[in-house]
Symmetry: C2
DNA sequence: CCAAAAGTGTTCACCGTACACCCATGA
DNA sequence: TCATGGGTGTACGGTGAACACTTTTGG
């Protein structure tokens, strides 16, 4: 550390620090992310990730959760740190270090996210249709997507997208949306059930003019963690 | 973003930002990390990770590389961002956000790292013998270790520990040190060679009173990347 | 009885694992 | 000739992938 230890704090200029969040969900069978249209310059009118400045006495994780709640009304969801972006001119106003997170929101939990005062608009956007976002947020969203897809293979992260009760077909749709490819129904069900992670609720889901599907729930919701 | 857009910069206090690096190598068949004994308070006399404050016009990655070079003389090695630690009181002096990295140093490249002016001492320590470090650096080192071990399974990261020319036995020692368990020689060689990533140099290594070992090198040193 | 999604087993190829002996060299 | 690490092949079991038909309901 280069700080002169005799002074209270490091005497050189400090950068600003923000937490920004890539919020994923599955809507209509498509992976989607939540964006905010910027009400003010820079990038006024562009879509951006929810996020904001770190309070000086606030933990990083708490900042991400708070900004998410303030700007979109979403709370209580899976939230994990992704990466820290700190290129020197990523924000034209001043030096800003962005500690980024990604969040996974269950399919049903969303109704409509509410817009906060400093956001002109909040909305879900299909990930595949993203055009360019404000700042370096496109790059951030792409990294979050790569991480999410990679984690599918060695974790049970996909369950974070499910409501409390769900059917195996719904779960399969989530996997298919994330991988962007169809899966074999029999192999999928075999693999999921062999994890011994979900159990039948006993109820059935009537969903149209066809055979009703069994409902399942996660056995121990507290620890839907990495398996492997 | 909550910043009033009419002012040039965010008017609330900014935290300090540091880059800290967990430097790994293999010494005498043991995974080791490079530590610096702190010359000044806080934690005076304790061992800590190399690292230091971010310059206001410097990229994060550049800061990590610079601090590593300044404090230990090591440069040109594999360096990857790990995680960002930002608990509110992790540094007693002021609010400090630590963007952490880990580095992998080839076995031979090291002679002795040189100590910088503000470090009383620099030295390699067997990872398994670590006692507690300054700040939250123990936690950081443990996370880096978990990441390193996890990456062994789906990447070719272990080659970063190898000098330009090496034998298969040496490579196997590296894997064994990282996993902390012995591997079958035949299976190991089969797996490594099937990657088609290394080639014989044509030379042999004479290393005592026994059969000489073939030397290998990485085929395309530029892209020893994730394989899977 | 027809349309639509739910539900169900078997076969095969591949890969990771277990396992033991001969080879080349220096002393 | 002996001690030491270098170098080699096969057999087995488990896992992931391919693949098609019957069941249950609503209209």
């Amino acid at each position: 550390m280069r700080a002169p230890e005799t002074t209270f704090s490091y005497p050189y200029p400090h950068p600003a620090v923000t937490a920004d969040v890539v919020v994923f969900t599955i809507r209509d069978g498509r992976l989607s992310i939540l964006l905010i249209r910027r009400a003010n310059p820079p990038y006024q009118g562009d879509w951006a990730l929810p996020g904001g400045f770190l309070d000086i006495d606030e933990d990083l994780d708490a900042c991400a959760a708070r900004e998410l709640a303030e700007e979109t009304g979403i709370s209580g969801v899976y939230l994990e740190q992704l990466y820290t972006f700190g290129a020197t001119h990523r924000d034209p106003r001043e030096r800003v270090i962005s500690v980024t997170y990604y969040a996974l929101v269950p399919q049903d939990a969303l109704a409509t996210p509410r817009a906060a005062s400093d956001a002109a608009e909040v909305g879900w956007h299909a990930f595949d249709d993203l055009t360019s976002l404000a700042f370096d947020h496109t790059e951030i969203a792409e990294m979050a997507h790569r991480r999410l897809v990679a984690k599918l293979d060695y974790s049970t992260i996909a369950f974070q997208f499910m409501p409390e009760a769900f059917t195996l077909s719904e779960l399969q749709c989530v996997y298919e949306a994330l991988r962007n490819q169809p899966l074999d129904k029999r192999n999928f069900r075999k693999r999921i059930l062999s994890l011994d992670l979900i159990e039948e609720t006993g109820r059935k889901r009537r969903n149209g003019k066809h055979r009703p599907a069994r409902e399942y729930r996660v056995r121990h919701p507290k620890r839907v963690e990495i398996i492997k």
